[in-house]
């Protein structure tokens, strides 16, 4: 009986509860450990990804940059809607992102931001649309999910620290936090079985290491063993 079922279960249209769903199109994230737990082994193209943050500055954008660099290299546009701070061009360019593909949209009202996000998700030339939105309106989110599906766009809905998300709509939900100097990615929701353990990425290892001695403003900072980068225009002390 089981032997008879086996070829049937191997059919690609059938997935079982403990399998990951087969996403039609995904975008490799550039991190093998993360790809391993994402359905389709990458960021979903044609679906909304909701990302919750414990804190800003833990490597959340660096997590998405390899995929964005790939998209830009394929001449797909990248649209960032209502980012909380200025995206800093020198750092983005240093990461290899083609800035000619990046559009930063600022919106006066949340309605405008929602509209712009939906337009970006629907646009065929747009490969990835990121929006920093507070909305938890289910109808609006469902609209966005449909737009992402129709436009085959990777839509990331970013929540600021302290903002709670909406568990219903986005098929992929991640919560990011820093634990023991590593970026811990908890998969809150995915198409497939639950994941108990967070994925840990050593993103910060690419930053300069933490020095042993903490420094305070009142004490002069300890002299770093590395010489400060010499720069034209900087005055010698």
């Amino acid at each position: 009986m089981v032997a008879a079922l086996a070829p049937l279960l191997a059919h690609p249209a059938i997935w079982r509860g403990n399998d990951l769903a087969l996403e039609l199109a995904t975008l490799p994230s550039g991190f093998a450990d993360l790809d391993a737990v994402l359905p389709g082994r990458g960021w979903p193209q044609g679906a909304l990804t909701e990302i919750l943050l414990a804190h800003e500055g833990i490597g959340e954008l660096r997590l998405t940059l390899p995929a964005l660099v790939q998209l830009a290299a394929k001449h797909r546009d990248i649209v960032w809607i209502a980012p909380p701070h200025l995206p800093y061009a020198p750092a983005l360019a240093a990461a290899g992102l083609d800035l000619a593909r990046l559009y930063v949209v600022s919106c006066k009202t949340p309605q405008d931001a929602l509209w712009a996000f939906e337009q970006a998700l629907r646009a065929p030339e747009c490969g990835a649309a990121f929006a920093w939105l507070a909305t938890r309106d289910e109808r609006a989110l469902r609209r966005l999910q449909v737009a992402a599906r129709d436009g085959h766009t990777w839509g990331a809905l970013w929540r600021r620290p302290g903002q709670s998300g909406s568990a219903l709509t986005a098929p992929l939900r991640l919560a990011l936090a820093r634990e023991n100097g590593q970026l811990a990615i908890r998969v809150l929701k995915r198409r497939g079985a639950d994941l108990a353990q967070p994925v840990r990425l050593g993103l910060d290892e690419r930053l300069p290491p933490r020095s042993r001695t903490p420094f305070r403003s009142c004490t002069p900072p300890p002299e770093s063993p590395r010489a400060p980068p010499s720069r034209a225009g900087t005055a010698p002390p």
Binding site: R62, P209, P221
Partner: protein
């Protein structure tokens, strides 16, 4: 051997007004009146004719028949502009078109037959196209322009392809169709000459002696015995379309149909001149009594990211932009003018079904810019500057991105930069922060008054939760306590 098509617009005085009406409003009785004394009906639409109104009738009589009749004064200038616009559109079918005022356009279609798949198909496209533009038309085909015009006036539908068939077709036509001086026509009528055939059968030297050589030469040109050179129509260097609305529009949505007509005209003009437009101006003129009080027209400028020609693209952008326009008063007329235009290469037709990219969508950037404003879409370029806040150039508007020539800083830079550095006050004093890198001294900008002197550090906040970019402002001394947060290593 040439072949000419003549498009005659018998109800042009009416159509210049009526084309601004959405189709469902066209059932209202509507007529255009001359401004003579007493005023007479020039042309009436179908609904008015059903009510018994005839062309040439006195306006007072027409109003007695149908009190709800909408009347407009005839606008000869608008008719001439409409004819020029139609000629521009004709240039999408042929390289040579010419005006035959007051109400006809002639097109040399001999060279276009093959491209458009034969005469019957071209005829269908011409008549359907004129109807789409909003003009009722009659099309006649003949080997000479004069004969085509005569046949169009006579409503002779079958195409005449050969000059040898011309006399047989033209002979029975009444002389009234030929624009003859009144005296000439009177003399001929008294002599019993009523048709074109009778006139052309008269002895040539006799006709020339009595009426001048002009009439003989004209008959020769109509029959193709001598060449008939015409001045080809050249589309105007700038597009300027105007549409008078039959009834004042109260809101922006009521303008939609009229705007669509104008955009269609604009697209034809762009195609005829091989151009793509990047800047457009839409002017909405308000009602006359308000104009007198000094209410200026509402002017809506548009900018497009790339030169555009296709009608869906232009219309999509205009619709989004119009939604944001607040009308201070009802609108009586709309005008569309082209600004900067640049050459745009033609598009190849698809070989197989499916690779025809005619259903071009409005580019995302144009749609966003139309609704959110030019300044809302920003693009970023690194800039060769040491001061972090100046090391990036923000580009708005539809201009191309300047080439990034800046050499990037070797030191680490954060992905988020705070618009304004945030003072840390005594945050650093309360709990120790953990240093990752630094100091990086940046001292620059003395030439423009924005000089800075800062020591930058990459550090983790005291709780270890975030990596940030902070600096000590050294302008008041190297060990000052002025600490600022300037970036986040997101």
């Amino acid at each position: 051997m040439t072949l000419w098509g003549c498009l005659l617009f018998p109800s042009l005085p009416l159509d210049v007004f009526a084309r601004a009406l959405a189709p469902h409003d066209a059932a209202q009785p509507f007529a255009v009146a001359s401004d003579g004394h007493p005023p007479r009906v020039v042309v009436a639409n179908a609904a008015a004719r059903d009510a018994g109104i005839r062309d040439g009738q006195l306006v007072s009589g027409a109003l007695a028949l149908t009190p709800s009749l909408v009347l407009r004064d005839r606008d000869v200038g608008a008719e001439a502009r409409a004819l020029a616009q139609i000629a521009t559109w004709t240039l999408t079918f042929t390289p040579t078109a010419c005006l035959a005022p007051p109400h006809a356009v002639l097109a040399d279609i001999d060279g276009s037959l093959r491209l458009f798949g034969g005469l019957p198909r071209l005829v269908t496209r011409l008549t359907a196209g004129a109807q789409e533009l909003g003009y009722a038309s009659r099309l006649a085909i003949a080997p000479t322009p004069g004969a085509a015009l005569l046949l169009a006036r006579a409503a002779h539908r079958p195409a005449v392809r050969n000059a040898t068939e011309l006399p047989a077709v033209l002979d029975p036509l009444p002389l009234a169709l030929l624009d003859l001086p009144d005296a000439t026509r009177e003399t001929l009528r008294n002599a019993g000459i009523a048709t074109f055939g009778q006139l052309s059968a008269l002895p040539r030297d006799g006709v020339a002696r009595r009426f001048g050589g002009d009439l003989v030469a004209r008959i020769d040109r109509i029959l193709g015995r001598v060449p008939d050179p015409r001045v080809p129509f050249v589309p105007p260097p700038r597009f300027s379309g105007c549409l008078e609305l039959p009834a004042p529009a109260q809101d922006v949505e009521a303008l939609g149909f009229g705007v669509q007509r104008l955009v269609r005209d604009l697209a034809d003009w762009l195609l005829a001149r091989g151009l793509g437009v990047t800047h457009l101006t839409l002017a909405l003129t308000h009602e006359r009594y308000l104009r007198a009080r000094g209410v200026p027209p509402t002017v809506v400028p548009f900018a497009l990211g790339t030169p555009a020609r296709s009608m869906p693209h232009l219309l999509g952008v205009l619709r989004e932009r119009l939604v944001r326009v607040m009308l201070p008063a009802p609108v009586e007329a709309i005008a569309l003018e082209s600004g900067a235009a640049s050459p745009l290469a033609g598009r190849n037709l698809g070989l197989l079904p499916g690779d025809d990219s005619s259903e071009v969508d409005v580019p995302l950037v144009d749609r966003l810019r139309a609704r959110l404003g030019d300044g809302a879409i920003r693009r970023l370029v690194p800039h060769a500057e040491h001061r972090p806040e100046h090391a990036m150039q923000v580009v708005t508007g539809g201009t191309a991105l300047p080439a990034a020539r800046a050499s990037l800083p070797e030191a680490l830079r954060p992905l988020w930069l705070l618009a304004e550095p945030q003072p840390l006050d005594d945050l650093l004093g309360r709990a120790p922060w953990i240093l990752r890198d630094g100091p990086e001294r940046i001292e620059s900008g003395w030439w423009d008054g924005g000089d800075i002197r800062r020591d930058y550090f990459v550090a983790d906040t005291a709780d270890g939760k975030a990596t940030v970019w902070i600096y000590r402002d050294c302008r008041r001394g190297l060990d000052s306590d002025d600490w600022f947060l300037h970036g986040i290593f997101a």
